[in-house]
Symmetry: D2
Subunit: 344 residues, 4 copies
């Protein structure tokens, strides 16, 4: 096989603190060690399909390790959408730019697309990105630590108000399918209840925890992942739509009034939303993302097509994309039991 | 007049970063310089009416300058409510505890009550507290700087996501009647539009600012105070209730979809809510609150009944409560014009 | 007089959080309201003397309100130094670029040079910059609030270690001639002693405060401005050099061992140094610096030559540079007395 | 064996963010799940030898997850010191309090003492604590992430000043024997050189990196661990004492002037020192420390005497203290090579 000399890089899906550090790591090492030229693909796969591509010299990545967002832009558009042209179009655009390989940074959707492109013979390497930390093939992904940090800091702030007014505070954090952000920020913030998609707790149990905290003189703090669904009671079923999701607003805004009504404790709700995605990455995420970027260009030079980089313990490894995108990493029962000791 | 030897202190209304620093300043100086004993009144005027009062020795205030919230608790209950007993009840409880004077820390409502109690002969001194910074009798109040800091930090975070996705971001901050938090955090965060209650801007103007920012390649950022009402168009009137307030959710959640529809720019909304009230006070607020606390006990010893402490330039002064509670401090036209130069 | 159409801007002296926000404010308003072109002068007066000047279009100032440092660079070189060419050289370079006026952002030295240039007929407007807050002609300058915030945050951090080990902690902050940073960060951080250049306290007094705090079970915290000189005792005089400054290291490193020896309390020293100058400006400093920048270009268009912008209460005004550079703003006795109540 | 009903807990060695979260985790689970009573041993092993022990009810640990330092106090005193009484004295004091087991939280020294006590039959369980992250038996220890975060934040701040003045900045961080804090904060902060004890680099190489960064228009940033020793040249050997350590001040203060002299670049030095130990723990450290606390009381109830808790990947395990205290975890060659790609 020939050694790659021009490598394209793209970031795809929701933005995530650390994307820029990945880009910087790959470009710096590509330039210095391998003499590789980089091409920046705009807005994820959209740029690959639309041929929106420009040179990405080393100069453009300086100072990026500490900058949130992605200088390449991102979108949720994929090459296998109707009329996008699929692998054939991708190959055509790559040839036009003499692009020898692609580094694709993204979440489960992106990595699945990368796997499909690779199945069609496109030389591609993946870098996992998910704020939710829901990929089983890696211990952690960058962005997760920043999200947990921001959620924890927010919980710390909300607590002072709650205690001054003797109120219950419900904080809704990210996590549509898995509860990692809720679990970690709830543990860090000293929550009296943590509600996650993996564990369908009843309203009775939630209110019992709130009551118990109040009875000890605390301002009850409930951290809830956006994907949590309370275990069905009559009342609850009415308030959910056909898919078991709250009818209006998020699950936090739905939970708050019920807790207030059933416990008699004045309750306030805060939905952290986009706040958790943004800003300067934590040092943890900068280090992990930089290492992922460095390892990604190594993987390209080693022709590890169809693989992605991954964290195992303190080491960076590569794993086949086929394995990586198979299972969602849920919060296991043991971690839930560990945390639940502190509830109430 | 006799020199006060037992002074009660209460915090009333919404909680605010810096309340604890006021308490600490007053108690420390009262103990060390004047040999005064302090009584902590629980939950604002509620504790005064319900006789929920306990000694507040100096030991209890240590470390408080950097702690958010209020160790005394707070409520919105007043002594002139139906059945509360008014000045007579307050005098009775004060006599039971041999309390010679009261320091009342609170916003416009609290200070008005303090003025009324003083009119009835209760020896009382006020400390102004308003996150919104809406009291004309003082240049600034503690809590405002912390709220602006948190809002600015949040705007910084939201900006990275907005830029990565080329989105418009609408951030709703506190400010029911005045736009100071929106003005300052918007200026600090580089907003492309700042919307405040004092300036009823049309939807056309808002969308023009958003378009202009987008056309220059920016991710448009709109900071809106919760009390803003857009200048009336047919569409807008429909979405407001009879009081000219948005029908559902806050003004931000109402503005976002209209901006998206009229400009075609994907738009996200973040409501900062209680996040702005909480957490560790900024150094600015700690210094101001500590100085207010020190000056409050001075005012008590000087028998400045019916006065409150106030910041003028870099000096702490006292002003009559009658003057202090007369006018709301709105954002003047000149400050709006100054900021509007940067919009769009 | 003709209306200025090309305006030069320079930043001079030590760097300071908020410089970039001044530049942005002036350039944005100059471009939008007055149609003025800006020229960026590199590294303060050095760029004016060496003719190191380039266009500064509006595009170059975007996003600057939240960025520390100065994109123009800075130096301590002046036009009146030996061989620099003085006003004649400045006039020559200005004419070559058709530069009609200069905005000079800097501290006391820079403003004095600006005044001298203006005395020689150079159309110049000043913007005061001093982290130390030592200019009497303005209530506050930008950078001060950021420095106090960083010092306060550092004090908060050091306190946890001190308390765990029952140690005394000495924290040296900036302030060669005035003690404002020490006073405000010490008040905010709950210091048991604040030592400033304006108040020569004896070692006996310092140790008495440390002892008193320890006796109450606290970890004594001493905040000292770098320019503090203890009131003379035999021991102290030996450790000072001919100018009354400590022989080795800063005053903190000198104080620590003496406190440890005389009180028997294990003592650690932290010198915050450059940490206080850097990083993202606080929202307070961003707002003040932006307003200063907006007012500076107004002053240019009003031909207020030889004036500088200034904060009075909550208003921005202009004052003659002659008045502005006359007096150092020291911490007055009243502010010292106010704070000293909390010592020990 | 009988089930433990009274458990002592102590924190020993240098303080570390997360100690309080360990205490809270152990006490909460001990109280709720196992019905165990806790005894707080003051100031590490000193309290065990001096019989300075008091009940530690659950109420005393509330809110501790986010509080830096240790409420139990700490010291470096050990039971095997001259006259301390060794295992016999420890057994005597334990019997007096009917203490069935001890949880000892500390670094290598503490864990070695714990192992020795266990060898003498004292039922003891360890929790590893080292800011430096130098224990091979666990992937990470709490406190490390907080230290890296503070160092990274400081580097971010120092960079703005360095860039404004075109200076080189030398930042000395903790790490007497291993370079983990320097490696991670240097990577996160985008350092142009990272100097660690494990890799004796020559002054020529250091200056070459500084020159290279400067030649690309950057402000060179050097992060150095306190235990770094430059590879010997004549000049360098003179400046080191007999143990190969710098003669005066830390290694940073020694490196700065040499870099300035040899490269001609103005250079400033910042020693972060105690700042890195203190303050509020990061969410990462709160979660890890809480999990360690929960696992420690599990280990006690499982009679895992002579073991300590440990992080492997994302799981908490227990390992024998004999294994745990054998090897220092140095930065391996592969991690150094990975990072060195980014130098210069």
């Amino acid at each position: 096989m020939l050694v790659p000399v021009r490598v394209g890089i793209l970031t795809s899906g929701g933005d995530c603190p650390g994307l820029n550090a990945v880009i910087r790591g790959a470009v710096m090492k590509g330039d210095r060690i391998y003499g590789v030229e980089f091409l920046g693909i705009r807005d994820g796969f959209r740029g690959l399909v639309d041929d929106d591509i420009r040179p990405l010299p080393r100069h453009d990545v300086r100072g990026l390790s500490r900058q949130g967002g992605t200088i390449l832009g991102t979108s949720r558009i994929g090459p296998f959408a109707e009329g996008a042209g699929g692998s054939a179009r991708v190959r055509e655009v790559m040839e036009r730019h003499e692009m020898d390989a692609i580094i694709a940074v993204g979440g489960e959707g992106t990595l699945t697309v990368a796997r499909m492109l690779n199945d069609d013979g496109i030389p591609i390497v993946g870098v996992p990105k998910t704020i939710d930390n829901d990929l089983s093939a890696t211990d952690y992904t960058f962005g997760f630590d920043t999200a947990v940090s921001i959620a924890t800091e927010s919980i710390d702030r909300l607590r002072t108000t709650a205690e001054s007014h003797s109120r219950c505070m419900v904080v809704e954090v990210m996590g549509r399918h898995v509860g990692w952000i809720a679990l970690h920020s709830g543990l860090a913030g000293g929550a009296h209840a943590i509600l996650i998609p993996e564990q369908p707790v009843s309203m009775e149990q939630i209110c019992a925890w709130v009551d118990a905290a109040r009875d000890r003189g605390r301002a009850p703090l409930v951290v809830v992942a956006e994907g949590f669904k309370p275990e069905g009671t009559e009342i609850v079923r009415d308030a959910l739509d056909g898919f078991g999701r709250p009818r209006l607003g998020g699950v936090g805004e739905w939970l708050g009034p019920i807790i207030e009504e059933q416990t008699g404790i004045e309750t306030r709700v805060m939905t952290l939303g986009h706040l958790q995605r943004g800003g300067v990455p934590t040092s943890y995420d900068r280090v992990l993302a930089t290492r992922f970027g460095l390892a990604a260009i190594d993987a390209v030079m080693d022709a590890k097509w169809g693989h992605m980089v991954s964290l195992r313990g303190i080491d960076i490894e590569t794993v086949p994309l086929h394995d990586a995108t198979r299972d969602l990493k849920s919060v296991p029962q043991s971690r839930w039991d560990e945390a639940a000791v502190l509830f109430g």
